[in-house]
Symmetry: C5
Amino acid sequence: MLLNARFPLRYIFKHIRADVVRVLLISSFFHLLKLGLGEYLPLIPLQLPTILGSSIALLLAFKTSQSYDRWWEARKIWGAIANDSRTLVLQIRTFVTNEGLRPAALDSPLRTTAYRQIAWCYCLGQTLRGLDPLAGLAAHLGEPDLAYLRPQANKPFALLALHSDQLQGLLQSQAINAYQQVQLDATLVRLCDAMGQAERIKTTVFPVSYRLLVYLFIYLFLMTLSLGLVKTIGLWEIPVLLTTASSFFLLERTARYLQDPFNNKPTDTPVTAIARTVEINLKQLLQEPEVPAPLAPEAFFLM
Amino acid sequence: MLLNARFPLRYIFKHIRADVVRVLLISSFFHLLKLGLGEYLPLIPLQLPTILGSSIALLLAFKTSQSYDRWWEARKIWGAIANDSRTLVLQIRTFVTNEGLRPAALDSPLRTTAYRQIAWCYCLGQTLRGLDPLAGLAAHLGEPDLAYLRPQANKPFALLALHSDQLQGLLQSQAINAYQQVQLDATLVRLCDAMGQAERIKTTVFPVSYRLLVYLFIYLFLMTLSLGLVKTIGLWEIPVLLTTASSFFLLERTARYLQDPFNNKPTDTPVTAIARTVEINLKQLLQEPEVPAPLAPEAFFLM
Amino acid sequence: MLLNARFPLRYIFKHIRADVVRVLLISSFFHLLKLGLGEYLPLIPLQLPTILGSSIALLLAFKTSQSYDRWWEARKIWGAIANDSRTLVLQIRTFVTNEGLRPAALDSPLRTTAYRQIAWCYCLGQTLRGLDPLAGLAAHLGEPDLAYLRPQANKPFALLALHSDQLQGLLQSQAINAYQQVQLDATLVRLCDAMGQAERIKTTVFPVSYRLLVYLFIYLFLMTLSLGLVKTIGLWEIPVLLTTASSFFLLERTARYLQDPFNNKPTDTPVTAIARTVEINLKQLLQEPEVPAPLAPEAFFLM
Amino acid sequence: MLLNARFPLRYIFKHIRADVVRVLLISSFFHLLKLGLGEYLPLIPLQLPTILGSSIALLLAFKTSQSYDRWWEARKIWGAIANDSRTLVLQIRTFVTNEGLRPAALDSPLRTTAYRQIAWCYCLGQTLRGLDPLAGLAAHLGEPDLAYLRPQANKPFALLALHSDQLQGLLQSQAINAYQQVQLDATLVRLCDAMGQAERIKTTVFPVSYRLLVYLFIYLFLMTLSLGLVKTIGLWEIPVLLTTASSFFLLERTARYLQDPFNNKPTDTPVTAIARTVEINLKQLLQEPEVPAPLAPEAFFLM
Amino acid sequence: MLLNARFPLRYIFKHIRADVVRVLLISSFFHLLKLGLGEYLPLIPLQLPTILGSSIALLLAFKTSQSYDRWWEARKIWGAIANDSRTLVLQIRTFVTNEGLRPAALDSPLRTTAYRQIAWCYCLGQTLRGLDPLAGLAAHLGEPDLAYLRPQANKPFALLALHSDQLQGLLQSQAINAYQQVQLDATLVRLCDAMGQAERIKTTVFPVSYRLLVYLFIYLFLMTLSLGLVKTIGLWEIPVLLTTASSFFLLERTARYLQDPFNNKPTDTPVTAIARTVEINLKQLLQEPEVPAPLAPEAFFLM
């Protein structure tokens, strides 16, 4: 997530360098063409680039709005993950007799669930970003759990299966009653849903056709505008075309970054920071002596 | 689902060939008309095509946005199907005593449910695409189940009925308690909902009037623009009209493909790939020795 | 619901005949006015109709989008009705002992509920369309049920009350347990909700002010455009104004039809076809020997 | 709610009288200014009011769309109130033994709940509109209930507390079982939610800044347009400015009325009519001998 | 929340002072540049600022609409908090035997829960606004609860943990049955969700790139417009550019305030006023002798 202050313009501009160069070439080419063949070229009325310009604006408005929705949905999913992580542990505390009243023993269901849930948050974030899903999990999971995870393809799902085994054990040892088990299972269902929703955003490619269409419209716009400006503003044409087209490319690029929020980039949903918040909240609930600090932001973003 | 790279422009352009030819004919006709009858034709002020152009842009923005919503809703529905498929099997594992702890026997409720659920995902995808709903199901279902399915018109619904029979059996044999049965039934309700939602998108025709209106506006725009350009840009008029109108047609066509995501086309929701993911996740949960690989993408799309 | 193919343009155009005639009169009047009083009339700059044109476009975009939302919501409600109808019967099959295993007897709860639910779907559709709510219900309901329905004002609600009586009976005769009754009741709650949602769309008039404002803007646009064209394009003005204005009226009218989807018109939500699908699915679940065919479409629409 | 037919234009126009007069003064002032000081005034290019005009159009599109959403949300909330009122009574009928089968006795839980629920609907509607919340409730509530209500600040909430007391009594007298009580409580939760949602719309002021900005833009538009028209259309300027600006004011005002749907105005959500529908449905369910007629519409609206 | 009347324009204008000064400098600079170097400057056609102007309008429409959505979502979350606070206490009253019938004793579960819930509302509001989370809570909480809260980082979450302890105690002392506990827990889950949703809005920075892009477009627009006006309107250019650009900046700033509704500013969601409403409603339900008055608005806003 980009932070409010200290945002380097350079960061964005470097991503549209290729487009800027292409626009520069195109507008120079047209300029030379007009110098040589000006009399044979049509004088396109400026209404035509105006119409194309408003089509570009509407297409970009569409892309901007849909990519914002994806980005916000990703943030909502991770918000729900934080909420349900806290809910799950709070429910164990409510339901399992005496768990709420004494400091959590090392093997108590409250503590095991809380630590496994912390691990799940980190593991899901790393899986979505294509990083090593097990990195750092040894701090939160015992060796048997880690051994179960290693061969599994979908590691966050495997962690839910371990939660599910514990739910069965809790009912069999009568630590919870049958209604409580069903209520805890409902929380697992929501966690499984949130995981699947994040996977959906990760694996669904935003319709590529729209990017191609935006590019097509921008290039058409450049051409008609360039032809429409024949003989009016001379060499000034090049910076004018360059700045206008670059702004459109910049807008398109900004939208494109937002629409893929799990790409291990500064524009990502801050999944590590959220997992850390969950870790802090749950460890304080367990009244653990050591609680980590919130994740510190990088130069201008938070991961 | 179209993939990010390797996307052949040719693929889109071939779909608007008819429109391009029509536009070519129209603009040539107007050009000839103006050559012959130029003095009798009105000089339409260019504001008129501008107004029509912005109406087209708004109509296309509407179509683009609604068809994206349909496409994204279809993807969400299949995301929910993946989630609830995993949830269903996880719940059986949580609820049925000892299912979670031992490798699943061939006739265990866990294994039967998981395989039937895998079959349901493939079967629903094939039904929506108008393919043979039973193709390949023999790998996941026993003969009695297949025999029950054959005469049924709505095969995915019939598979849910088989799930429902199993829920009754599990309660009667006391493998689950009454609350667990209700909780499992709630998952079936969600699966039945998702199935119906996918059917709704499949069977509901997007209001055809809007396509006709877009076409009407584009042709009006072409005519007024052509008349507005009388005597200004000569033969250049034809490529100008052609490119502008084709971009609008291309946009309309792109939206139209998105809005029907179960048509067995490259722009489809990747239902087979999702069903395969479910198969992989569930078989790993069962600790099956053989787990298939994820569905490989075609040239530039994933089914 | 209008179907994809075979859509007669004549069908739409006949609905805007009155508007076309009015526009014809107005533009002729202005034309004559300008012939007689041209020198006293102001030469409105064409920017003014351009601004009005883009206001019209935005207002129509708003109307189009909101009426599409109403239409799509209506379709979603009926999709939910189809889903919950199937769910209700599937739940009875899951919960009531042995219902799932033997062919349904004439008076079994499974069969009675299924037939009453089929009747409810037809009855609700007919009520919403203002047709006889009881037409054809004798095929699905026994005489006692029909006798109970006749004096009731809200017949679909009365059918839900009969379902509710049956739920009480099932618990008292111990055919279902207390949790199952509550789960079945939850399905009734959703059906009651869907019924009320459809009633809401039926009885809520879309804010009329917007139609008036669209008309006001279109007429203002016509007047300023006509005055702006003084002396430029002569008699050609009339077809130009006529076509442009008619397209706007057509768009407004198309939106207006979509926004009232229970008016017994070709643009309606296909409630009869959906009820028929429910009938087919439920009868096949009961393994009835005779199952009707899906509802055949009319010339270019499906009811 | 405004009705489809018989809608007096006079009703809207009287609300923008003040704006019209102000525009008249402004445009006259500018006209006189230009007569006297024409040579010192700048000739604003008409592109500037065009840009401002499209900003106004977009701002008004935003306001129109958000106020429509508030209005539609208010209608949805009251739709949910109607649905849950019917659900509550249907559930009592399903759950309380024999309630469904005999005509409701005067003090039966079915009858008391139904009458209290009818009272709640009327009371909530009157509270939202700032009318006497207890007016007419004596027809539906006994004296003890009324006495409990009088000192309470939030009377609809107090009625829910009375429902809640009854739920406790029903469980204690074993008229319902524990699951049924929880299911009935879930319906109370939804009613309490709907009440709070309606209060939210009532008490949340739509961001006033946008109204000020719309006015600012309209006045800027007027000024630049007036200066842009220097010497072109003479005295005709005044009606032209007047009509264009008034249409914008009219649109803003229409949106503003929609956004506050509980103001005891003709554009209100028809809460009394909905409460009456609930009364009719519930009394017919109780098979009461006397059932009132639906609320008759006023001249051109329904309250 | 800004109130409808008495809104000082000065309040907004002071926030765009810096932008106004910057625009003044830019337009003066361009004016001087044109005085000195007019003949070397290009005459930008006014279509270019028109296209940029409509891009600005669309970007601002996007920002306005998304920030309104955030603001409205924040208000909905706090509406849900009010609803679930009342629901929680109503449920205790329904479920705990005799709680509903007698005046609440000092240590009754009804009274403790109600006071802790009031404290939670105030505490959450103060936490979100970055104020002292414990300020004023001594009026609602006993010393043991306060002592538990002090070391905790997330104080509202710690209050939910205290609620959760009470739920465990209520079941163990058989004051509620197992279903009632699960239903109360469901209300806690919703409160935990609402808390997390408010935190999400508080901690998620709206994509900063869009603000930069809006500024970039406005400055481009200023430059091209200024160059387009070369020699047409002389010194008038400066006020014209100033007013147009300031309106855009004003719109951007207004959106920016709405998008962060927990910043302890007049545009905040009125969390203190909502917490006070909850306090009033709950104390009246407890029939407390002293009930505070609703929070009085400040000069032109309500906190």
